[in-house]
Symmetry: C2
Subunit: 249 residues, 2 copies
DNA sequence: CCAGGACCTTGACCCAAATCAAATGCCACA
DNA sequence: TGTGGCATTTGATTTGGGTCAAGGTCCTGG
């Protein structure tokens, strides 16, 4: 069983934080930001470490600063489904809930910017800027979850893989306010098993479809955790939904 | 193409509204409730009517008073997935969004309690009771969507059908603050096709599994839109997740 | 340099659910 | 009382992805 995360002393000031304008603090300024800054503490996890188990008490909430985490749900017989992917700027934990509803696992080395839950809940009542940003982020997550429903319910294994790559590319690009185009590289901080859990497939099927996409030139593999996409539009075509990814918000 | 909904003159006062303590207005009292009451207007739709098409402008938000609606998403080639089921007290529309992200269809006769979007957005800024209730409801919807991800990704056709029935039974019971037990009846205001769209199956598979559950005595059919469940625990067992449905919130 | 183990790939076979194709039941309405 | 239009059921057949079973690759540590 993994050790608890180091509560790390070295943390960045909010001014130079990479997720400053995308996280739950995005709309805060001046005093509000100072208050958050005084409350925050970092937690670090290694790839594979469990952040919380479903059903365990959870006394903090926080934002992903760097790395990736997965929310995971299970049936009694062990069938596992990842139900959320937390990327930088995403919010972890639910205000008003004592127990974690899902198991959270770091799928790569992970840094969280955390707040103790109770004081954060109080802040949420006093401070409409934070509350409204959290509502906005929750609505975005709901939209993302609903897109995922379409993927799980109706897409083929090949389309699922392509869709995952498209999402990762878009999220990576959004952090630097660009739109993915032409030839791109995608970091893939997930094992084949984690991909399978996310896509509702088995790891064998993920592996086979990755091989097929490679064979047909849709992707190239640079090691196991880095994918080169020669043509992003080709990948989007393979993903089944021909949308343009919406506004660059 | 269906006619636009009648904006109906006959509407109930909030005091005797069946969703008074579950909808977005749940925590409002006195003046706040009066303000909502003065703004509200009802809309009625017949089973099968479309409330909004994905991509269309949407100038109102609202709550389901009675009936049922489905949120639907599509791939270009026509594959369809329902991504949300709106039952009484559920909220429709997204503050801050001009265009509908999903097609909304009444799956049974439907009554909505609506507010024009702009004034409602203003209310959300001025009135933390409404904003916090909306956040709470959105977080609940996100949890429901995530449970649905597990269903779509990992459950068998039979488990999916049983799960849908369990959810409908729980929602029906929650409205009258009870917990489903023993022998119960479930209203099923969905066609086989709508069920298939919700469950990520074909309508033939839905029909076959309904027949199988009937043959084995898990359910009895009373007409096509009403299901009798002799033993609720048996149904929950068939649904795959053996949870107790959580607190009666 | 080699051994062990985690992770990944590939092959053979199987099965649950999709697809294709009729029937059947069930109104509403002439 | 028939008739057209649905929704639904049922049957036959196909197939995408699961399951089971080897191997292969690449670290890491002795």
């Amino acid at each position: 069983m993994p050790q608890d995360a180091a509560i790390c002393a070295t943390q960045q000031p909010c001014e130079i934080c990479p997720i400053r304008y995308r996280a739950v603090c995005a709309h805060c300024e001046g005093d509000e930001l100072d208050e958050l800054e005084s409350m925050k503490f970092y937690r670090r996890y290694e790839a594979g470490q469990v952040v919380v188990w479903a059903g365990d008490r959870m006394d903090f909430v926080g934002s992903v600063v760097s790395g990736m985490a997965g929310l995971t749900q299970q049936l009694e017989d062990g069938r596992t489904q990842m139900v959320g992917l937390l990327l930088p700027s995403d919010f972890l934990g639910r205000p008003g809930r004592e127990m974690a509803a899902y198991t959270v696992t770091a799928t790569s080395d992970l840094v969280l910017c955390c707040f103790r839950r109770k004081p954060f809940e109080k802040l949420l009542i006093d401070n409409p800027r934070i509350a409204s940003r959290l509502l906005e982020m929750t609505l975005d997550e709901l939209d993302a979850a609903r897109d995922w429903l379409l993927l799980l319910g109706r897409k083929s294994a090949r389309e699922k893989i392509a869709s995952l790559l498209v999402i990762l590319a878009r999220r990576e690009a959004a952090l630097i306010k660009r739109r993915p185009e032409g030839r791109i590289a995608i970091e893939l901080p997930l094992t084949r098993e984690a991909m399978a859990d996310y896509l509702g497939l088995t790891l064998e099927t993920v592996s086979r479809q990755m091989s097929a996409l490679k064979r047909e030139g849709v992707i190239e593999l640079d090691g196991k955790r880095r994918v080169i996409v020669p043509s992003f539009v080709r990948l989007v075509t393979e993903s089944g939904d021909d949308s343009d990814g919406g506004p660059l918000s």
